[in-house]
């Protein structure tokens, strides 16, 4: 039996192609049903996200056949000819497929390396397949291992540390100053797109009070309404600045609109409680000298991008260690799977010896009709114990040896020695 994956992702295809191949969650059950019909003795899992569409299958077919089936499946469900997406496809089988899944789950193959969302998506894909009874034993263990590997990679490396988008970096910095954002006030100046994104991220993290100030009061009111905030004209800024714990500025002003003196006075009025200033405007809205004030932390767009790039670089530097963990775990999984081949032989050997013991026991008990119930039970228990003791060492050794690739001969020998049929 083989494990195989066929799919495409953001490295190999444009978004237009991925959009056509993607399988929305409402179509997944039907798609999984069809895969079950294609691989009746195995299983399949479909991972469909905005950056990748992949189908994992485990079947009693050679890898080429599984890949052909998966290609046909994708063509059928997308309504496209195989040739339309064949060039964008990647196909892996057995160890390479295992390693690929581990990398995907650990976010080593993501567009933003180390992002945490993919693990949830892999988990959802697994649960969807499980709900349709499309997960067999091997795929079940494979995906459970993938979740464990992803967790290992996150705890043993720094791959998931630090955000890599400007808005998320701004939120991270706000949290590193204030920890709890629930009782904090955000003052937004202007209505730039990045500023709004940063505001949305802050509101998502619990910020409850929003003040929007704009030269055009109507613009301020529109944005304030969306975030249930208060609207101000820019003229009221000086008198309200001290209320803000976080200031996001993204106006189109050609000259700075807030200066050292404004923040100095604001700090005095707020008893020197810290202010985090995010100036995303180009040209900048806040005089750079503001950062010389204690308790004012000013970040402009370049600073935020620099932090994002540093975080990204830090993640990339961890990639080698993360891959090492993934490859080690892929080897472990392959050993477990190899050992699985010996399982029928192990079960057969155990059954055979117990059957012999049962037959001999029956003969002996017929010759001893005067035994009490308790004595009979003792003799039966004795015979089972002898068989188990005889089996213990060979079974342990066999399980150990079976994990190696050259275990086929040993398994074959066991089958011959104990007369176990190939299909057993």
């Amino acid at each position: 039996m083989s494990i195989a994956v066929t799919g495409l992702n953001h490295h190999t295809s444009a978004i237009e192609l991925r959009e056509r191949l993607t399988l929305p969650s409402e179509r997944l059950p039907a798609a999984l049903h069809q895969l079950r019909r294609r691989f009746p003795e195995g299983g399949a899992v479909i991972l469909s996200t905005c950056n990748r569409v992949e189908v994992y299958a485990h079947a009693e077919l050679p890898p080429d056949r599984i890949h052909a089936e998966l290609r046909a499946f994708l063509a059928e469900w997308s309504g496209m000819a195989e040739s339309a997406f064949a060039e964008a496809l990647y196909e892996h089988h057995d160890r390479a497929a295992v390693s690929h899944l581990f990398k995907v789950a650990a976010s080593l193959d993501s567009m933003v390396v180390g992002e945490g969302q993919i693990l949830g998506q892999v988990h959802d894909a697994y649960l969807a397949a499980q709900a349709e009874e499309a997960v067999d034993k091997v795929l079940g263990v494979l995906f459970q291992r993938a979740f464990k590997v992803a967790k290992d990679v996150r705890t043993r490396t720094r791959i998931g540390e630090g955000h890599v988008s400007v808005a998320s970096v701004a939120v991270d910095l706000a949290v590193s100053i204030f920890s709890d954002l629930a009782d904090k006030t955000v003052l937004v100046l202007g209505s730039g797109e990045t500023g709004e994104l940063a505001l949305k991220s802050l509101v998502d993290r619990g910020v409850s009070k929003v003040i929007v100030a704009n030269r055009t009061r109507q613009h301020a009111e529109t944005l304030a309404q969306r975030f249930r905030g208060e609207a101000l004209g820019l003229d009221a800024l000086a008198t309200r600045l001290h209320e803000a714990d976080i200031v996001i500025s993204s106006t189109a002003s050609e000259t700075p609109i807030l200066f050292w003196e404004d923040f100095y006075l604001a700090l005095k009025r707020r008893n020197n409680a810290p202010i985090f200033v995010i100036d995303i405007a180009v040209p900048r809205d806040i005089d750079a000298g503001v950062n010389t004030l204690d308790n004012v932390y000013l970040y402009d767009i370049d600073d935020l991008q620099q932090v994002a790039e540093e975080n990204m670089a830090a993640r990339r530097s961890e990639l080698a260690r993360a891959i090492e963990i993934v490859e080690h775990q892929a080897d472990q999984f392959m050993r477990w799977r190899q050992a699985l081949h010996a399982e029928p032989a192990i079960v057969g050997m155990s059954q055979e010896l117990h059957a012999i013991a049962a037959r001999e026991l029956e003969k002996t008990l017929q010759k001893l009709p005067d035994l009490t119930e308790k004595q009979r039970a003792e003799v039966e228990y004795l015979s089972r114990r002898i068989v188990n003791n005889i089996l213990q060492r060979p079974l342990t050794q066999l399980k150990k040896e079976a994990a190696h690739e050259d275990a086929g001969r040993l398994v074959h020998l066991i089958r011959r020695l104990f007369g176990i049929e190939e299909g057993a």
Binding site: T155, S176, F178, A314
Partner: protein, 282 residues
């Protein structure tokens, strides 16, 4: 009883060293909260054993053990370790253990190396209960101040990294500035009244037992440092309360005064080790 005292003290030293190693491993290696939970649990164990060592010494000799260096260090370490585990109960501030526990471990090792013979000997008796009531909170207040100084290092580190836009690595593992500021405020808020009580009791004792003291007792460096300490505590606490001394200013002030105290302690050990009120009185 002696064996139990030694076992409790050395057990505490081992636990606090292990806790310090775990907390540093968290800072240096990957972010793994289990390391901090382990450090916290071991730190709590060390606290309990340090407390037990003190209680056992009191029980063994029937005196409150406060006069020997090992007793002073034991109570001091107990205070700092207790403050550390108390302040880091929540996961948000637990990384501070990496600032608290290594110095505690270092002091514990030094104590184990130099002051341990005192563990088996009887402590001197303090002349009266008032003096016991004066010395005990003094050690507690110095312990709380030491903890605040260590917290200020974390604050200065975080604030500087934020200003320099260097927010990778360690920065991401340490608590937020707000949490650090709150921790500093809590520590000086606890230490200040304790020190005021210490000083008041000390002055009452000095007045009542003035016959025992030399006429120039107030020239003792200890008195000078105590006066500086109470002024400092008052400035720090009220300054922070009013918002005048907040954030980096408070942290730097604590750090500088902590350094001043450390220099004084070194000088006292080297140059003034023989000086005390009783010697002056003789």
């Amino acid at each position: 009883m002696s064996i139990a005292i030694f076992a409790a003290f050395f057990g505490a030293v081992v636990l606090v060293c292990a806790a310090a190693a775990l907390s540093l491993a968290y800072l240096v290696f990957a972010r793994n909260d289990r390391l901090l939970v382990g450090a916290w649990s071991l730190g709590l164990g060390a606290c309990l054993l340090l407390g037990l060592a003190g209680v056992l010494r009191a029980a063994a000799w029937g005196k409150v053990p406060l006069t020997e260096p090992i007793d002073f260090i034991n109570l001091f370490l107990f205070t700092v370790a207790m403050a550390a585990v108390g302040l880091t109960r929540s996961g948000r501030t637990r990384a501070l253990l990496a600032f608290y526990l290594p110095p505690v471990a270092l002091l514990a090792l030094l104590a184990a190396a130099y002051a341990v013979p005192d563990l088996g000997s009887a402590p001197k008796a303090l002349p009266n209960t008032l003096l016991i009531a004066h010395v005990t909170p003094a050690i507690l207040a110095y312990g709380l101040f030491f903890t605040a100084s260590l917290t200020s290092i974390a604050y200065v580190f975080q604030a500087r990294r934020l200003k320099q836009r260097n927010t990778a690595g360690l920065f991401q593992k340490l608590p937020s500035l707000e949490n650090l500021d709150r921790t500093l405020y809590t520590l000086i808020g606890l230490g200040y009244p304790v020190f005021v009580v210490t000083l008041t009791l000390g002055l009452v004792w000095a007045y009542l037992d003035r016959a025992l003291l030399s006429p120039t007792w107030w020239l003792s460096p200890k008195i000078f440092v105590s006066a500086c300490m109470v002024v400092f505590y008052a400035c720090a606490f009220h300054g922070r309360q009013l918002g005048r001394l907040r954030g980096p200013k408070l942290a730097y002030t604590l750090f500088v005064f902590g350094a001043f105290l450390a220099v004084y302690l070194v000088l006292k050990t080297i140059a003034f080790s023989e000086y005390n009120f009783w010697v002056a009185a003789q």
